[in-house]
Symmetry: C2
Subunit: 233 residues, 2 copies
């Protein structure tokens, strides 16, 4: 009985890792679709999100069945409940990648991103993908140091987000309102995506140490007050 039980717990972990891999890939491909104005790729990302949603539903059903059947306590209970939350983070990340792809589709055959912001958006997309890859690794390895590192990476995202806003607010902005709106939303999607990756990692820290990540590095994080869209809390 205990064996089947731990297999079930492991399989929940596997699903989380698969979700993280799928949404990490999705944000990378969505970014490419947008920067290249690749309609096929955008549609592919939009459709692929269904699989992420399915995985979440399956995971939830299994977690609830496991709670009912095995009635775990202490650490195991925390693992199951935390897994439910992580799956919600990952599902939402998938939605955000899908939003990026939908914006690419909406603007096709035009490009939503003007060429002078191409590099910044590319960096945001790559960083988002890297953050999610690290989150997946944290789920697998339960490496607390790596998890805490994600918060630092997230500062990089805040910096990129700030750069984006500086471009927008610059008097020389010449791309008009529609593009300003698109870029504002894109910035927000990447930033929220990064937040969810960080959140996944933090939850692992909590599982491993019983302490919230914030408490572990209370004074490592200067508060960043960038731009209205940079509010993430």
């Amino acid at each position: 009985m205990r064996d089947a039980y731990h297999e079930e717990l492991d399989s929940i972990g596997d699903s989380l890792v698969e979700m993280a891999r799928l949404v990490g890939s999705a944000i990378g491909r969505a970014t490419t679709a947008m920067l290249d104005s690749d309609l096929k790729l955008a549609e592919n990302v939009i459709e692929a999100d269904q699989r992420v949603d399915e995985l979440q539903h399956e995971l939830e059903a299994r977690a609830i069945a496991l709670l009912a059947r095995q009635q775990p306590v202490a650490t195991d209970l925390r693992i199951v409940v935390t897994s439910l939350r992580m799956s919600a983070d990952l599902e939402r990340s998938g939605d955000l990648a899908q939003h990026v792809a939908k914006l690419a589709r909406l603007r096709y055959p035009d490009r939503a991103v003007p060429s002078d912001l191409h590099a910044t958006i590319l960096e945001m997309g790559q960083l988002a993908q890297r953050l999610m890859a690290k989150a997946a690794e944290v789920i697998i390895t339960k490496d607390v140091d790596l998890a805490l590192q994600l918060e630092q990476d997230d500062d990089e995202m805040d910096l990129l987000h700030r750069t984006l806003f500086q471009h927008l607010m610059d008097d020389r902005w010449k791309h008009g309102i529609e593009t300003a709106v698109d870029v504002t939303l894109l910035g927000r999607y990447y930033e929220r995506f990064a937040d969810h990756a960080v959140s996944v990692a933090k939850r692992v820290v909590y599982l491993v140490t019983g302490e919230h990540a914030d408490e572990l590095q209370a004074d490592m994080q200067p508060e960043i007050q960038a731009a209205p869209g940079a509010e993430s809390a």
Copy 2:
């Protein structure tokens, strides 16, 4: 033992209702703070969100303790797990109200919203507050019809959001980029706030009927493709 248990279950429900009331009030006050450029009120909303976060932490701790001690199955188990998700929706709604207030504070003594959009933003703020009030009522009454009604109200929010985008995209827009960015983000905050209220109601439907709200009214909801920021899924 069963009595203490059901008291505990009820108290989780009470906390959810209190959270919904707090965040409903917060979005209303944040909207007022922004439209009136009222710094004190904005700061008041920003600080008050702490109480929502505390309530969520307390609720989670109680839910997990209840799972460990009482090991509920079937319906009771679903109630506890669903309550955890609702509390996450409500906590996030509180963040969104806080974002609106922070934008008011950031632009003070200016107003983030130009006067020709005042009425639309006011409507969005009021609708958001109304949606959350209904969500609270759904938690209390478990009224499935009322819950389904929320999705229709949410269509109204999508419409308002579309109106906002039409203003933004209008060639006669004369408020510059900064205001366009602010209005884009505001639109997104209200829309996401409404989504979370709907999500709370949907989860109650699921608890009561065992069916997802979407299945109950599969053909009542025309798909709305409004503007990039109107993506909520």
